[in-house]
Amino acid sequence: MDSLPVVKGTLDLLVLRALTDGDMHGFEVTSWIEAKSGGSLEFDDSAIYHALYRLEKRGLIAADWGVTENNRKARYYQLLKAGREHLEAETDRLVRFADTMVGILTSPSGGTG
């Protein structure tokens, strides 16, 4: 399957969604999205960090230094309450949008009535 380019703005939602599973550092977020998409989404790894910083600036997530299982220093990101609400609202919106699009695009051809 060809990889799909990520629609603008959706990467932020994916990152937020990843963090609902718990605090993660950047590579964990990247791996989470790769695993969930089965590698079918196409983006540079750096885009994840852009998204993380963007979300941090908007106050949707917070960051703090921590240590990985292998005792390496890493910056861990945590989903904030505002982030969770944003994720829910945006997911809802995106799902309705997608439903509508799918409905229109897959409807049988013919007159309107």
Binding site: S46, Y49, H50
Partner: protein, 899 residues
Amino acid sequence: MIQRDLEAEIGLHLDLRTERLVRAGLAESDARTEALRRFGGAMATRHLYTEALSRERRMRMRGWLDGFGQDLAYAVRTVVREPALSAVIVVTLALGIGANATMFGLIDRLLLRGPAHVTDSGALYRFYRTTPASGSVPVSRSGGRTTDVLGYVSYKVFRDGTHSFDGIAAYRVNDGIVGQGATAAELNVGSATADFFPLLGVSAQVGRFFDDDEDRPGAAQDLAVLGHDLWQSRFGGARDVTGQTLMVNDQPYTIIGVAPRAFTGVDLERVDVWLPMSAVSPQRSSNWQDTWNASWLNVVGRLKPGVTAEQAGLDATAAQRAAYTGRSERLRESTIVIHPVSYGPNGSEPLEMVVSRWLLAVATIVLLIACANVMNLLLARSVARRQEVAVRLALGISRGRLFRLLVLHGLVLAGAGGALALLFVRTGGPVTRRILLPDVLWTGTVDSHVVLFTAMMVLVVGALTSAVPALRAGRRNVTTELKSGAREGGGRRSPLRTGLAMVQVTLTVVLLIGAGLFSRSLSTVSGLDLGVEPDRVLTVAASWATPPVIPAGTDPADAWRVRGQRSDLFYAQAVERVRAMPGVSSAAVAIGTPFQSLFSVDLRVSGHDSIPPVEGGGPFISAVTAGYFETTGLDLLDGRSFTQQDRAGSEPVAIVNRTMADALWPAGALGECIYMIERDPEAACSRIVGIVADANRFGLREAPAMQFYVPLGQEAGIGGTLLLVRPAGRIEDPKRIAAIRAALYDLDPGLSFVSVHSLQEQIDPQVRPWKLGATLFSLFGGLALLIAAIGLYSVIACLVAERTHEMGVRKALGAGRGTVLTLVLRRSTWLVAAGLALGTAIAFYSGRFIQDTLFETDPHDPMVFAGVALITVVVATLASLLPAWRASTVDPAVALRAE
């Protein structure tokens, strides 16, 4: 910092990715390259970094601002919570800052800003002619005579014959009568060449200024451009004023425009109307365009960039020498120099400006004293609140934050002081300016420059006064402070605070000595014997609307005599009329009065082939009626005064002054002869019948000149009659002045204007620098004394408060009230004595710098020094006695229980 964070984060990412790729089977180096590729390459890293950097900066700024806002609010609350302390500090700073802002406003107007509406006034220079010293001419200190009053021919020569200037113009401002009849008033009438306005870069607010064609010599038009003030007051600011007629010196002029508000040419005095130079100059002389013998205007020029004033002066001198056609040796040898337009008529910086600069220095000292005082109060405050500070530090506030908090507190106080200072400037500024430079046209007191200057001072003063106490507060050791009560901290000596109080005393002493020296100068000037008594004499001059009728067939050579007859007749009647008025003790008519005009004529005297020169010059001639010496207050030393019988046609007589008598006839002047050979080589002997005291001619300091008086009517070749009136009471009584005017109009309804001035008005500008210096030095000195007294009081009061416990112990152990009092006073006495000694030393040393500004006063005047010492000691004792007394009344039981 950010870069390191980012490198760590991305480094980890790349490491983990590489490890995963290696686990999937890639070679180590290939895995690394692939990891980087997936990340987006090196560019992606850099991009991330710059973005992170700007984000970090924004966040830090926001954090700082949040903290700043909190701290500012806290600082304001602190100021409000300590109303007494805050009030003292704010008022102290307001006085200091206000004094500086006021003086800055003055200097700004005089020196920095230049005349209003003038483009780049710094490049404008005024032309001066210096003639070499010669026996008959008054000699200035520089050895020659320098003047800025030149002729039209000089203007033409400089304009056409020099190459150092981007433009040259001529102008002059004189008193003139504007209007006719009831609305006539003596105003400032400017005349200027048409190139004056473009040279300055000014354009009219309404209409226009006149152009070269309208100012063409020989074909000039009678046009007028109104000053803004006159336009408002007389024409109500009507825009259709152009085309109307304005009478100036009884000539009609057509108004063609209005100058912009506050435009005063290159000087700072108000100008009410501008006329074309070529329209008014023919009144000066029939060949005014070309004569070297008449001087009535000032020449100014805009120096080309890169040319020095010295080069330009040489250029102008060369041009004058090449063009000079007259016969005067002195004029031929004279040199031209140029000075900034702010310079005075004799080519030196006006004394007012020198004094103003001194006063700015003085104001700075007042501010320093105020700052020392405030710093002292803040130090005392930080001692009193050291426990609060310790608690804050213990609670984890950073020392930087604490510093910021305290400095903000200082800035808030200084800001309030600055605001109050502007209020002071608003109310006090106009008064200062009126005393300082009453002729200058001022526009507003609190302008943008003054506000900006005040704001800068607020920042500097606020930071300065609070930084030292803040640094000391942050240095404290938290644990010991927390453990200690007031007792342990109290006994500590504070050399810094004592030192600050001493500095205040020192500076105050310096200022007071300055005030004393200027006051002495003023009293010397005021008490000066000028020979005549200018403050008791009014001068009255009449002018007529129409020229007198000269009978047909009169020889033109006699026309001037006929013209003079009307005036002579009028003044002869006027003096009788005025003398008979109630409230007038005497009156006389004179040509050639001190501080007004000076004449000399060709003479021969008995007993000498030629007249030996004296330092002050002369002989000068005055023609006066009976009662002149009585009216002016000049003492008759020997012989007799003139009587009603001494007149035209009676036996020629003369009265000489003491200097002339001593120089020419040491054995006795009475009965000797003066021959006035100016017009008649065979003139008869004017027999000397009396000797009078010397009188100053123009200046306050000048060598006595030879002077003689003849009865009015016996003179020849001089003119310019004045009526002199000596009122019995106050001379500025407006009712009496109005009565004199009315009597004269009644005498001759054809009069267009009667001007009345006191002779003193001619002298006031010369006295003003000392009046100014004495007034403002005294004011600032008093201010400094007050602030220093408050400072001393607060230092002693704090000292006492901190040692309350010690005092209690001492009293409990049996010390009497006197002992405690002595203990406290000893400290303040030491402090004051040191300050006094230091201040006296500084004043003594800097005396020679102020010498030139003083009037015949020794800068080391022992009376002044002793007086200041006395005042300082008295005030200092009073200021420290109060808290000391309070200390001595401490109840030991209360003091000891207070812990």
